[in-house]
Structure formats: C-alpha cells, structure tokens
C-alpha cells in the first residue's frame, strides 16, 4: 500500500487540510487543490443522487453508502471516506484496495478526533494548521 496524499474536507466541501506523504510528488497549486476538493465533493453528491433506490451496498463501516468511493486511473486511485458528521477524508493512493484504505481512514479519523478536535483553538470547519496532527498522521502511512 502506498499513500500519496490526504485531503480533509469539511461538511460543506471546503478543503481544510492537505498533506503529502511521499517525496517528489508533482504539486498542484493551492487553487487547483481547492478546485479538486470541491469537484470531488460535488461528484460525490451527484453520484449519490443517481444511485438506484434498490441498489445493494456492502457493509463497510464507512458512512459513505451511496456516494462516490473510488476514482481509478492507470497509476493511482482516489478513495473517499465520509464520517457521520459529514467530514470527508480523501486519500490518494496506489497498490491498495477499499478495505485496506478503510482501515487507514479509521486510523486517520481517530487522529483527527484526538489532535484536531481536542485542540481548543481549532475552529470548527476552518483550515487545520497543526504540527502534531501532521506528525501523527504521517506515522499512520
């Protein structure tokens, strides 16, 4: 499993956190990252909307039941995980699968609940600038 990048989106689809884990990645500009984040947010919502009513979902712990979960290219995949409160974790990765990513996302969510939500100066839904969180998230990769 190789994880390149983590995005965190607040419940309105704004990019609040971005961290690259591998050296030598081609960089998007801040503006492009924001566009990427809100595009994924929108496609997620649209795909949920066009899901047939009787479609079967498999029983992952993910609360993202009917929305976009994976985007695949030849060389990497983008995975989308959504919590019950509407926060989205987006992972750019390769050589992995949904179940494995699910486990990773849960670890990241735990780090988030500890290091972000328990920082008394972190404002909800605002960008996350937090060295402790950077460090601890990097350890999960």
């Amino acid at each position: 499993m190789q994880i390149y990048t983590l995005y965190i989106l607040n419940k309105s689809g704004g990019l609040v956190y971005h961290n690259d884990f591998q050296p030598g990645l081609l960089q998007l500009t801040t503006n492009e990252s924001l566009v990427m984040a809100s595009t994924i947010h929108s496609i997620h919502a649209i795909s949920s909307k066009i899901t047939p009513a009787n479609a079967k979902t498999n029983d992952l712990y993910n609360n993202n039941k009917s929305g976009l979960r994976i985007i695949e290219t030849e060389n990497f995949q983008i995975y989308v995980y959504q919590t019950i409160t509407g926060v989205k974790f987006i992972g750019f990765a390769n050589d992995t699968n949904l179940a494995e990513m699910e486990v990773w996302f849960k670890k990241v969510y735990l780090c988030y609940s500890d290091y972000v939500m328990k920082n008394p100066f972190q404002q909800l839904d605002m960008p996350i600038k937090n060295d402790n969180f950077d460090r601890i998230v990097r350890q999960t990769v």
């Binding site: 997620h44 949920s48 712990y61 993202n64 019950i84 409160t85 969510y109 909800l124």
Partner: protein, 188 residues
C-alpha cells in the same frame, strides 16, 4: 442490540479510552462552576447558561471521537439514540450508565444514579442555589452539541437534581426536529 452495546462499551472503556483521575476531574469541574458563580455574582440563571454553552462547544467536538472510537452508524429511531447515548456515550466518557426512562419517539429522560461531576458538592446555602442552579448543566450542552452534529436538534434540560434535595437526578431530552436537509449526502 442492547447486549452488543454493552459489549462494545465495555471494550471501549477497558481498552480504548484515555482515563484521568476522577477526583482531578471532579475538582476541576467544581472549581470551574464555583469560579463562574463568583464571576457572575451568583446569578445562577447566567451560570446555567454559561455551563450549557461550554458543554455545547464540548459536544460539537466530542462527537467526532465518539464515532471514531465506536464505528457506530446513524440511529434509525430516537429510542435507539437514547440507548446509545446512555449505554455507550455516558459509559465511554464518564463511566456511568444512566437509566433511560419515559422514552418515546420524541423524548427520553436520563436518570443518573451516580454523577461523577457532583461527587463532593454541597450547594451554597444562600437561599437561591437550591432553586436556581443546575450544577451539572454542562451535560445539557454536551448532549445538545453532540446530537446537533448528527442532525438531531434537541431541547435538553435538568428536571431534578439530588444536590437540590430531589430524589433523583433527571435530565430530559426532547427532540425538536431532525435536520433532514443537513444529513450528509451519500447515506441511505
């Protein structure tokens, strides 16, 4: 359902959550309330409001840890919410399990047989505190904040408190509305 909730919360309490010395916790909360009373000139209505506001801000954040640790999904009914709040929520953060009474689709009451917040507390004998102060009002705010994050707007308040000389400590939660428009898309 309730059996598995018990197993879940036992495991959480034993293996997952961080714990602090209960006296440190009780005394910290106690000095906070006492300081608030002094700062606000023993205007207990305002003290209640402040405690609730603090709790609300705690609840908004606490709920993320709750879900990160428990992996629980959305409750299908308000009864289920009551069970989960009492058996998992209170157990996980306070290691008490309040009784759930008077539960229907619009409301429930939590009866706290033991209240870790109020362990050594005697309310001041100024003739007002017994009638006006809800010492543990932070819990009201926590419930409101946490439930709001899962799109349940509730009204919560204490109806009795052993500190005031009542027989029980009872916290009532009433469902105002389910904020349907705010449920994140992608759920069923």
């Amino acid at each position: 359902m309730s059996k598995s909730l018990k197993t879940l919360s036992d495991d959480l309490w034993k293996n997952r959550v961080e714990k602090v010395n209960s006296e440190l916790f009780t005394l910290t909360y106690g000095s906070l309330v006492a300081q608030l009373c002094r700062d606000l000139n023993y205007n207990y209505a305002e003290v209640n409001a402040h405690l609730e506001k603090m709790g609300y801000n705690i609840g908004l954040r606490l709920v993320e840890e709750f879900f990160a640790q428990t992996n629980l999904g959305r409750c299908q009914t308000f009864r289920e919410t009551a069970e989960v709040v009492a058996k998992v929520g209170f157990r996980m953060f306070l290691n008490v399990v309040p009784q759930v009474v008077g539960v229907d689709e619009k409301q429930f009451s939590l009866v706290l047989d033991e209240n870790p917040l109020a362990e050594f507390v005697e309310l001041p004998d100024d003739g007002k505190a017994f009638k006006e102060l809800w010492y543990s009002n932070v819990l009201v705010g926590v419930l409101k904040g946490a439930l709001e994050m899962v799109q349940l707007e509730v009204n919560a308040f204490f109806v009795s408190d052993v500190l005031r000389g009542d027989d029980t400590t009872e916290l009532k939660v009433k469902l105002v509305q389910v904020l349907k428009d705010e449920i994140p898309v992608g759920e069923d």
